[in-house]
Structures are given as structure tokens and as C-alpha cells.
């Protein structure tokens, strides 16, 4: 076991900078955070409440805003569980089995991170749009994907795919196969091995991935914007609704809606810190 480093007297510490340099660096970092992160957040809330709480509540009670909220929640409620299952399956396959094309799968999982969300949206237009590959077939059968809810869900699933898998792959790789093999040697079926051994081993990492996945699913703008068609009350998610209101110079309503998303971000951050704290505690356990 490595002993924890003992504090060394200042003069002997090769990495210690003079006091003024440290203050300058810390000051610069804090100033940067304040200007680029804290101030905009503050601005969102102050703009949202500029005309008072009543105007704020009114903006959110408006039918189109309600529809946007409902749609956003619904899209997240579909795409997060889907990616949860996909992510666990992909991480499981990559870390517990050896097969041909594993490297390709790992690369593919990262694709949504490396491609612009707009391109992701355009892919679906190309495939399912009126002039797309499946366009005629879909039209003949009366199925609408693009400019409708299914398209929004597809685009969101695509963009948020890596979050769960990325979180689980290193975790499951580190844990190895021993626990699963032990369970199997004790007679456990694949099903009970997964639910009684694997899942508990990855639960915090999984929750963490789900949390980030959810934040992105609710906040995604680019890909959704391309496939949504911006039909008010029907295919507008919260981020799209904010844009529309803003373009109409309806600032209070725009910021009120934006403050919901900002609030979601804050809650996500808090939960993320709590999870990281739990993660660490477990990390020290073995």
C-alpha cells in the first residue's frame, strides 16, 4: 500500500509557486467562471423574473409551453431507458466477451460525440424524410417519422447514445469477469448473474451515466431542431420553444422557459456531485 504523501515544508516543494502567482491563477480561474458561467445563469433567472413572478408563471402556464414541457419529458422518458439498455448491453459485450469487430463497435459508440448534432438530424431526414430512402414507403403506409415525435426521439437517442456506455465501459473493464465467473460457477443463470452480481456492481456508474444522458436528452437542440419541424404545441421541445419565443422578442417567456432548463442543469450538477461522492466512497472500499 502507498503511504499518503506527507505535507512538505514550503521551501522544499518544487511545485509550489510564489504567493502572487497562485493568487493570480486562482483569480483568473474564478473570474473566468464568473463571467462565462455564473453571470449568464444569473442573467437567465433575472430576465425570467424581470416582470415579476406572475409574468413568469403565466409564461410557463401558456399551452404551447406546457406542450413543450410534456414533449420534452416524453422524449426523455423514451430515449433515456432505451440508451440505458443499449449502453449496458454494449458495455457488457465489449468488456465481458472477445469478438471480431470489437474495436469498430467502440469507435461507433463514440460517433455521436464526434459528429455535429445537425448532421445527426440530417441523417434522419435523409433516411426517413419525404425524399429520403424510406420516404415513399413511409408515405404509402401513413407513417410519419420526420417532423413528428418519432423523429425527435430517434435524434435524441442518437445524440445521447454514448453517455451510459462510455461511463460503464471503463468501470466494467476494471472489474473484470471474476465476479460473473464466480456466480456462474455457483450455478447462477445468466439472468440472475446479471441482476444479482453485475448490475449491483455498476449501479452508481449506471446512475451517473443515466443522469448525464437525461440532461442531454432534455437539453438537445441541434439534432432535434433539424427533425422537429417546429410545429407549435406539437413538435416543439423546451429548447426549441425557447428559441421561438426569443425570436419573437418575447424575452420574459423565453427566459422563463430557459430558466427551467437552467434549473434542470443545476439539479443535475447537485445529483452528479452526490453520485461522485458515493462513487469515491466505494472506490476506497476495495
Amino acid at each position: 500500500m502507498i503511504e499518503e504523501a506527507k505535507p512538505v515544508p514550503h521551501s522544499a516543494d518544487a511545485t509550489s509557486e510564489p504567493a502572487w502567482a497562485r493568487r493570480l491563477l486562482i483569480g483568473a480561474a474564478l473570474g473566468f467562471l464568473l463571467i462565462f458561467l455564473a453571470l449568464p445563469l444569473l442573467a437567465v433567472f433575472s430576465e425570467a423574473f424581470r416582470r415579476g413572478a406572475a409574468a413568469f408563471a403565466e409564461a410557463l402556464a401558456e399551452p404551447d409551453a406546457r406542450a413543450a414541457m410534456r414533449l420534452t419529458l416524453m422524449v426523455a422518458a423514451i430515449s433515456v431507458p432505451l440508451n440505458c439498455v443499449f449502453g449496458v448491453a454494449a458495455a457488457w459485450a465489449i468488456t465481458k466477451f472477445d469478438f471480431r469487430g470489437k474495436g469498430l463497435l467502440v469507435t461507433l459508440i463514440d460517433l455521436p460525440f464526434s459528429v455535429s448534432p445537425v448532421v445527426a438530424g440530417l441523417i434522419y431526414i435523409l433516411i426517413f424524410g419525404a425524399n429520403g430512402w424510406f420516404g415513399p414507403f413511409l408515405r404509402d403506409h401513413g407513417i410519419q417519422i420526420v417532423f413528428a415525435v418519432p423523429g425527435i426521439v430517434l435524434a435524441t437517442v442518437f445524440v445521447t447514445f454514448p453517455f451510459v456506455a462510455r461511463e460503464l465501459i471503463p468501470l466494467m473493464a476494471e472489474q473484470g469477469r471474476d465476479d460473473e465467473e464466480a456466480a456462474r460457477s455457483l450455478g447462477a443463470s445468466g439472468f440472475s448473474t446479471f441482476f444479482r452480481v453485475t448490475l449491483p456492481n455498476i449501479r452508481w456508474g449506471l446512475l451517473y451515466g443515466v443522469l448525464l444522458c437525461n440532461a442531454r436528452a432534455m437539453g438537445e437542440f441541434g439534432a432535434v431542431s433539424v427533425v422537429s419541424g417546429h410545429i407549435r404545441g406539437e413538435t416543439n421541445t423546451l429548447p426549441l420553444h425557447v428559441e421561438i419565443l426569443y425570436n419573437e422578442y418575447n424575452f420574459v417567456a423565453a427566459f422563463a422557459t430557459a430558466s427551467l432548463l437552467a434549473g434542470l442543469a443545476l439539479v443535475t450538477l447537485v445529483l452528479k456531485s452526490v453520485l461522485e461522492w458515493r462513487y469515491d466512497l466505494r472506490g476506497q472500499g476495495h
Partner: protein, 344 residues
């Protein structure tokens, strides 16, 4: 329960982990698979357990072919090198796992499971620790929990992968003795993998020495030490001196020295003898002369390191009487030696 391995081989890509292996463990036997890392001993153990599938050959338990049977159906207890305890379960839940995962109709009643767990906790001397978590136990305690968990399903065969590898020397010795007792008391057939020759020689009924995916020797511990079957075994088990020699009509030549080569074939050979199998001599045929570089008193004798012309490593010799001075020229006669053909 007897275990028979027939012509089992295994490769991983281009790496040959096991050449076709023949091996038999008699019912009630405690067998050690001994070898350096990469010798294939763990692969062989995992194939017997069903955790790995052999490329060729068969595995039989009491004459019954189990080659196609998955690990879940083989009914073997397997103890992993790093224990593989379930971190989120208490010690008691870990031990009960093999019983609680059974299909409902085969699962013992809750009270029965609790009784079994209490019994096993007592058996592994962890009576009061059932409600702890693995992280709260010492290495030796974790190892015993892993054993209890494997024994809960009442296997007739116990397979252990480097069972003492991660423990400190003192705990290791205690656990070794205890494991041997447990094996005898429960009438198990056990195979364990180790790279520690002392462990293998002390614990096992028979030792299987492996190298490069081959079995070099299967013998009782004493025979492995006294009559190694190959140059590798002589080198790997116990301390030894190794001289490259040329064999000619029963004589092994090293430089100007001539030693008795027994019935070794003519050609290049490797001559081995143990440090304690020497006696001081005056010179002549059958002796070696070397210059002392180090002399350390040991219980009842002196360990001498001596440089022999034409050999990189110093000879290690255990000599009686007063320690010789460094730089002194000494002559010794190996009293027991073996010559193997040099395969390279």
C-alpha cells in the same frame, strides 16, 4: 470424485496455452499444478472447471464425460485468485449465493439456508462475521469466505487458482494447513494452481509440474525434488547448480573437469546438482575446483558461493566445517547429480 483429462489442448490466437494434456486426479487426491506464469496451469484449471472450453480433448468426472457441460452444471467449487467476493453482499449472503440462485423447486427453505450458512461460517472459523461486508475483512478472512461460498453448493471437486497468492507469508502458512485438513475431512478431490514450489511440495499429494503448456512431471513431492524428470523441473523446483556439459560415453565434460554422466546420451547436456549434494574433495576425476566469492554461515554448515571458470553464475554449495576465506580455492565432489540432454 476422480478427474480425468484426455488430450486437452488450448490456444489463444497464435499463442499455444496447452499442448495436448493427459492428467488424472484420483478420488480424494490433493493435486498441485506447479509452474511459472504462462505455463498453462491456470488455463488447465479453468478448462476442468468449465470456465474455458478446450480446443481438443475431453474432461471426465468419475468416468463421465463433462466436456460439453457448462460451468453452471459441473458442480465444482472454484476459488478465484482475488476471491471475487460480491462486494455489495454481506459475508452471509455471499456464502448463501449458490443456494439462493437455485430455481425455486430446488432451493432449500430460508431457514435451511440460514442453517447451512451458519454451519459454513463455523467451518471457516468466521462465526461472528456473517453480517460484515467483504471490504471489512482481512485478506485471509476473505479467502475463507470464498472457500465457504464455494463449499456451500456441496461440490465434490474443489479447484483453487493461486489460493494463497495475495496473502502474507504467515497467514499463508496457517491457511495452507487448514485447507489441507478441510480437504481431508470433507473427502474432496482438489486441484490447486501455484507458482510457489514450497507450497506445492508441502501441501499436495502429487505435484504436476508444468512449463510452456506441457506437463513436465507428475509425482509425489519427494520424487519431484529427489528425482526431477527434466532439466526444467530440476531448475524450477529447489535450489540447483547448472553446468552446460558435453557428454561422451558416460562422462560429462565441463572445461577440464570430468564428471559421471550416468546413462545420459552423448552430445550437449545440462548437468545439475543441489547445493547440499556435495562433499569436499582433493581433486581428480568427478570433482570441481572453484574460487570462493562469498561464505555465509547457516544452521549447521556454510553456504558458499564460488566462481567456476567458464560459468557465469557462481556455484552455490553447502559445506560442513569452518567457512573458507574469500578468494580461497576449493575442490568439491558432487555426490548426487543428474545430466539431461540439452534440447536447445
Amino acid at each position: 470424485m476422480g478427474i480425468t483429462v484426455e488430450g486437452v489442448s488450448k490456444s489463444f490466437g497464435s499463442f499455444t496455452a496447452l499442448q495436448p494434456i493427459e492428467l488424472e486426479a484420483r478420488p480424494g487426491e490433493f493435486l498441485a499444478l506447479l509452474g511459472p506464469s504462462g505455463s498453462g496451469k491456470t488455463t488447465l484449471l479453468r478448462i476442468i472447471a468449465g470456465l474455458e472450453q478446450a480446443d481438443t480433448g475431453r474432461v471426465l468426472f468419475d468416468g463421465e464425460d463433462v466436456t460439453g457441460r457448462p460451468v453452471t452444471q459441473r458442480g465444482v467449487g472454484f476459488v478465484f485468485q482475488h476471491y471475487a467476493l460480491f462486494k455489495h453482499m454481506t459475508v452471509a449472503d455471499n456464502i448463501a449465493f449458490g443456494l439462493t440462485v437455485r430455481p425455486r423447486r430446488l432451493r432449500p427453505a430460508k431457514a435451511e439456508i440460514e442453517r447451512r450458512v451458519a454451519e459454513l461460517l463455523e467451518l471457516v472459523q468466521l462465526k461472528d462475521l456473517g453480517r460484515r461486508y467483504p471490504a471489512q475483512l482481512s485478506g485471509g478472512q476473505r479467502q475463507r469466505v470464498a472457500l465457504a461460498r464455494a463449499l456451500a453448493v456441496e461440490p465434490r471437486i474443489l479447484l483453487l487458482d493461486e489460493p494463497f497468492g495475495a496473502l502474507d507469508a504467515k497467514v499463508r502458512k496457517e491457511l495452507r494447513r487448514w485447507l489441507r485438513e478441510l480437504h481431508d475431512r470433507m473427502g474432496l478431490t482438489s486441484i490447486f494452481v501455484t507458482h510457489d514450489q514450497e507450497e506445492a511440495l508441502e501441501l499436495a499429494d502429487r505435484v504436476v509440474v508444468m512449463d510452456h503448456g506441457r506437463i513436465e512431471q507428475v509425482a509425489v513431492p519427494d520424487a519431484v525434488y529427489r528425482a526431477p524428470a527434466s532439466a526444467f523441473v530440476f531448475d524450477f523446483v529447489g535450489e540447483s547448480n547448472r553446468l552446460p556439459v558435453t557428454v561422451e560415453r558416460g562422462r560429462a565434460r565441463f572445461g577440464s573437469a570430468l564428471l559421471d554422466a550416468g546413462d545420459a546420451a552423448d552430445g550437449p547436456g545440462l548437468l545439475f546438482f543441489r547445493p547440499h549434494d556435495v562433499e569436499p574433495a582433493l581433486g581428480g576425476e568427478g570433482t570441481l575446483s572453484a574460487t570462493v566469492t562469498l561464505a555465509r554461515p547457516r544452521a549447521g554448515m556454510t553456504r558458499v558461493e564460488a566462481a567456476l571458470d567458464g560459468l557465469d553464475a557462481p556455484l552455490e554449495l553447502d559445506l560442513p566445517g569452518e567457512p573458507p576465506a574469500v578468494g580461497e580455492r576449493i575442490t568439491v565432489r558432487p555426490t548426487r547429480l543428474q545430466v539431461f540432454p540439452d534440447r536447445r
